[in-house]
């Protein structure tokens, strides 16, 4: 094991509600690397992110998850967050009675509190700070609110679920540039931060360099390559006949 890895997944299998979703997923992400996860709908991409974060619906039946060399497989969500794992969800819950600004301050965990207003300004979401988290937010507003919390947290590993889905082009630019910033700046732990990002369209890659791309298919990682190149291959051939994938996958 290389302790300098930010994330190492060793043959991780995950069940949701007793149903197997992910099988023997192994993955390594080094400091400063941005990884992108492709795969058709229902292939288990979001489940993988949730499982790394430790959400209780995602039950790990096999393998282990190492974060900066530490086995976090059995740590609760909040401890993972405090170690430096951050999650930007695609469909986060609405939380009544808690203003976004307050939750962003909480996310900063005392490190970065003063910057919340500044970050909100940068993301163009200052008007959301006083509103209850995600209550009545549009698709673009949800992305910005999630990103604000992630940026306040400055995680060593950002898990980002479809930052470019359901967002207008202007907002994609804001979100993309902000994510690029997030992985460029040293994290709170002074480690070059890494990211694992799910994208279907690849729009986000206009703003971010994707060091490594992975294809998840039917709960298994089936291919790996340089991010943009992999996206090109998938665009050309579809997931079914992508030459980078280990075997040609039957079209669903």
């Amino acid at each position: 094991m290389d302790t300098s890895d930010i994330l190492q997944l060793d043959e991780v299998s995950i069940e949701v509600g007793g149903r197997p979703i992910l099988h023997d997923v192994s993955l390594r992400i080094r400091p400063g690397e941005t990884h992108v996860l492709f795969g058709p709908n229902g292939s288990g991409k979001s489940s993988l992110l949730m499982a790394i974060m430790g959400l209780s619906r995602y039950h790990m039946t096999k393998g282990r998850i190492l974060f900066q060399g530490q086995d976090i497989s059995h740590l609760p969500v909040d401890e993972r967050a405090r170690l430096g794992v951050g999650l930007m969800q695609q469909r986060p819950p609405s939380v009544r009675g808690i203003p976004l600004g307050q939750l962003a301050e909480v996310s900063a965990q005392g490190k970065n509190g003063k910057r919340v207003a500044e970050l909100a300004d940068q993301l163009g979401c200052s008007a959301l700070l006083a509103r209850d988290v995600n209550v009545g937010f549009s698709g673009g507003e949800i992305k910005k609110a999630e990103l604000l919390q992630l940026m306040a947290q400055q995680p060593a590993l950002a898990l980002v679920d479809e930052p470019d889905a359901g967002v207008d082009l202007d907002s994609i630019a804001v979100v993309g540039q902000a994510l690029a910033c997030l992985v460029k700046q040293p994290s709170a732990g002074a480690v070059a931060p890494a990211a694992l990002i799910i994208t279907h369209t690849g729009h986000i890659l206009n703003y971010l360099r994707a060091d490594v791309g992975h294809v998840l298919y039917g709960g298994t990682l089936v291919g790996e390559g340089e991010g943009l190149h992999l996206l090109e291959e998938i665009r050309k051939h579809g997931y079914g006949k992508c030459p980078i994938c280990r075997s040609h996958i039957p079209v669903q």
Binding site: M53, L55, S56, P76, V77, D78, A81, R82, G86, L87, Q89, P92, P93, V95, R96, G97, I98, L103, V106, S107, Q109, D132, Q149, Q153
Partner: protein
């Protein structure tokens, strides 16, 4: 000074006799809601006038603290006027000098002696024979206050009234009348509370509110009871043209039983009512609270928001009934309950009635359920421990705007809510 007489015929004596006769008929009539109480189990010690005080700060510390838990400031900072009753006796009424001539605050007994016209309003917003509790107040009234704000006066600071029970196992039967005259505007804090040595007893509070044309009243009632104590408020509010009634109700401490179903009559065109309730069911508390509003006038509007958290072995009923009687009327009930215990029970019972007014717009949303696990974990992804995430969500759940409150009281309520949320674990 305005003449508030209505055109009710008949001499005062005859009317008083008629109320008494109706009360006698209702003496054993149970309320349709809440557990039925045997009123003979509460003692009625001989009337004993408690010693009056010159300033609230001279009250013993335990009483001041009990009052403070119900939002009453014994320093009277930022208060326009104060009324303080212990058991059966009023011990203090004071209007700050700067508000002299804007309002009156006295016992209802004194007001009935001073103003014959008050009999035109007596038992008009609440029926004397509604049940055995209203009957008990008529048969054996033990105090209550009369507040009157003169026409056109805008009383900038809150008026406070404290009804405190100090003696164990008594029945405090108060009858309050609030008269906000045309175009006047006032905020009232009513604190109902107990001396810490009181374990059991009963408080029956009849409150009749009359809002004249264009008047506004924001009333905040904070209840601070004990595990063995019973409470039966009986409130009626008559709202005339263009007048607004705002009610904030806060119950954050255990009680044996509290049952209230205030009735509001939006009679005048453009009359409005807004209710905000925050209630926490603790230990064995039985809380049965509702809001009944009749929207009779053109362009009337009612909104009732309640947030209830049930813990321990508490039982909570959240009732609401809107009756649309004018085609141009609108009302909405928003009632949410959160259950934090396997043994707690919660019933949400919203009712809507369009009464010969098919275009009246009435709606409700009601939800009861546990704290959302998804939201707990969401906060945990931001680094909050499970316990802190839960208390943050409970506090957030109970966070509703309480308009018309002095800032200092809003802060006090926020502190109490925060402490309650933390204790909810």
């Amino acid at each position: 000074m305005s003449d508030l007489s209505l055109t009710h015929p008949g001499p005062v004596g005859a009317r008083a006799d008629a109320f008494r006769a109706r009360a006698i008929q209702a003496q054993t009539r149970p309320s349709p809601y809440g557990p039925d109480l045997d009123l003979t189990t509460f003692s009625h010690p001989a009337e004993q006038q408690r010693q009056r005080v010159d300033a609230l700060r001279s009250l013993e510390q335990q009483i001041r603290e009990a009052a403070s838990l119900a939002g009453i400031d014994s320093e009277e900072a930022n208060r326009a006027a104060s009324y303080f009753q212990i058991d059966y006796s009023s011990i203090y009424e004071r209007i700050q000098r700067r508000y002299q001539g804007q309002l009156e605050l006295m016992t209802t007994a004194e007001a009935l002696t001073s103003y014959d016209w008050l009999w035109d309003y007596w038992w008009q917003a609440v029926a004397v024979d509604q049940d055995k509790y209203t009957a008990a107040v008529e048969m054996a009234q033990t105090g209550g206050f009369f507040l009157r704000v003169f026409a056109g006066q805008r009383v900038k600071e809150a008026i406070q009234a404290c009804l405190l029970v100090q003696e164990n196992n008594i029945s405090q039967n108060v009858h309050n009348v609030i008269m906000i005259e045309e175009g006047a505007d006032a905020q009232l804090i009513t604190g109902c509370t107990l001396h810490p040595r009181v374990e059991t007893g009963l408080h029956i509070g009849v409150t009749e509110v009359f809002l004249k044309k264009g008047a506004t009243l924001s009333e905040t009632m904070i209840h601070n009871w004990a595990e063995g104590f019973h409470v039966r408020p009986r409130t009626g509010v008559i709202v005339e043209e263009g007048a607004t009634f705002v009610s904030n109700y806060i119950l954050l401490r255990p009680v044996r039983s509290v049952q209230a179903y205030p009735r509001v009559f939006l009679r005048g065109a453009g009359a409005r009512a807004q209710f905000n309730s925050i209630m926490v069911g603790l230990k064995e508390s039985l809380i049965d609270m509702g809001t009944y509003v009749e929207l009779t006038g053109q362009g009337t509007r009612a909104d009732a928001i309640s947030r209830a958290v049930a813990r321990d072995r508490s039982t909570m009923y959240l009732r609401g009934e809107l009756v649309g009687q004018h085609n141009e009327s609108r009302g909405h009930l928003d009632c949410r309950g959160m259950l934090l215990s396997e043994h707690a029970r919660m019933h949400a019972i919203p009712e809507l009635l369009a009464d010969s007014a098919p275009r009246s717009q009435l709606s409700h949303e009601a939800a009861v359920g546990p704290i959302a696990e998804e939201a707990v974990e969401y906060l945990m992804t931001r680094g909050l421990s499970r316990d802190v995430a839960i208390s943050t969500l409970v506090r957030g759940f109970m966070q509703i705007d309480l308009p018309g409150l002095p800032e200092i009281l809003t802060k006090h309520i926020q502190r109490v809510l925060a402490a309650t949320a933390e204790h909810s674990l």
